[in-house]
Symmetry: C2
Subunit: 281 residues, 2 copies
Amino acid sequence: MIVFLNGQFVPEEEAVVSVFDRGFLYGDGLFETMRIFRGRPFRWAAHMERLERGAEFLRIAPPIHAEALRAAADELVARNQMQEALLRLTLSRGVGPRGYSPAGAVHPTLAMSLHPAPLTDRRNPPRWRLVTASFRLPANEPIAQFKTCNKLPQILARAQADVAGADEALLLNTDGFVVEASSSNLFWIDDEGVATAPLPSGVLAGVTRGVVWEICGGLGLAVREACVTPEQLRLPRGVFLSLSSVGVAEAVSLDGHDLSLSPNVDRIRDGYDTLTSAESL
Amino acid sequence: MIVFLNGQFVPEEEAVVSVFDRGFLYGDGLFETMRIFRGRPFRWAAHMERLERGAEFLRIAPPIHAEALRAAADELVARNQMQEALLRLTLSRGVGPRGYSPAGAVHPTLAMSLHPAPLTDRRNPPRWRLVTASFRLPANEPIAQFKTCNKLPQILARAQADVAGADEALLLNTDGFVVEASSSNLFWIDDEGVATAPLPSGVLAGVTRGVVWEICGGLGLAVREACVTPEQLRLPRGVFLSLSSVGVAEAVSLDGHDLSLSPNVDRIRDGYDTLTSAESL
């Protein structure tokens, strides 16, 4: 496996950073994970737009121009001969003086690597069991909008799902409302249409969340933002998750309670598959 | 500079971790920073106790026994000939399968490094200007008790202090109460004695916080836990911060408002200096 690190293509064993990199010390960085279909990153521009907004928020200057970064991503795919993959991009603040102040850390680290894409089978689409995690995200915090390298709440939530034998964990915010799942955004379907949690509640603005929103529009399904508790989430006609790696996954149970299944979830997933196929031609 | 990394003493340039280390990917780890006085770590046992509780909480098995770790710390001090220093210890979950689930990541990374101690002058003790940061910590979250490698709220808070020309930033929790400063615990003095924020409010249980509590007891000053807003914090007779690197720092202003100074802060700082001298003999 070849990794792109700070402008160089290096073997995996040489893809290392200093123990003084602030990414390692404090999680002081951002990342993106995107799906490569037929050798091309899906919705590259949307991922880059989020990365750039995050970098501006954290005041980390990306060390490479957008066009050169895209060229490097394409070369990474070619060198590794992985046409179907996940691309992980990490941008950390790099090494700086000791302490939390970012002042003086002016050489960011940028790494890109490829990973096998999860196997999906259209005849046997993902159906996930969910549990509500005990860890909560702060409501109304701007940091949550960005895909930062501070992921312990998500990791601990996911570990709770593992222990419960579930596939994904829901995270609540400090107001008690469902925000998202550990690595996916949440949608539910009711009489009014499709709903998802509002961004200020602590939602990471997922690229696939935006794609699902588009697809629902195309299918004539109204999408709105709303706050619900985990108990209220047992009532809708269908619940599903969106994530770059898998696309759309229907939720079949929450905290041991069966959820209703909806043919609309199948329509949305079909829409996602059609879109990804069309854009990667 | 020599760094201790996964059982080896290596030159700083060779102190590197994989870009796939979960510490770098997600901030999936813990750390401790402790003061070395006359070649000996101050309150080593208290730092180790917090590290062990955090490792149990995150389910990261430390790769080295407590006695061997202490021996390594002593050897690190000796090899670097730094009798007055800060020791940073990082324990990350290491490399594992892709994704948030910690399952399968079974080779943690452990690094220790030394850094110059901040210069302090007893005749000219630290007097810090504070600002209230806009970033908030989730109230009543157990993760906050541990010194994890998820430090973006503290980094962004500290950056706001830098921009304001201040020395430290106060962080509020989602209930609107003052929790702590970016890298220090907060105390204030009023008619009832000395007060500090309660642990459940989101406080990192600082080792120096515990030491200050002891010292106040020895001086006959009652210590209690209480919640205050930043506005209420302008009223007390004295406000100070506690941190391993510096000990006790008096706060002279908050958000541009002068704070009252208290001779009791000088007594507590003298108590801290006496204690550290006695324990490092």
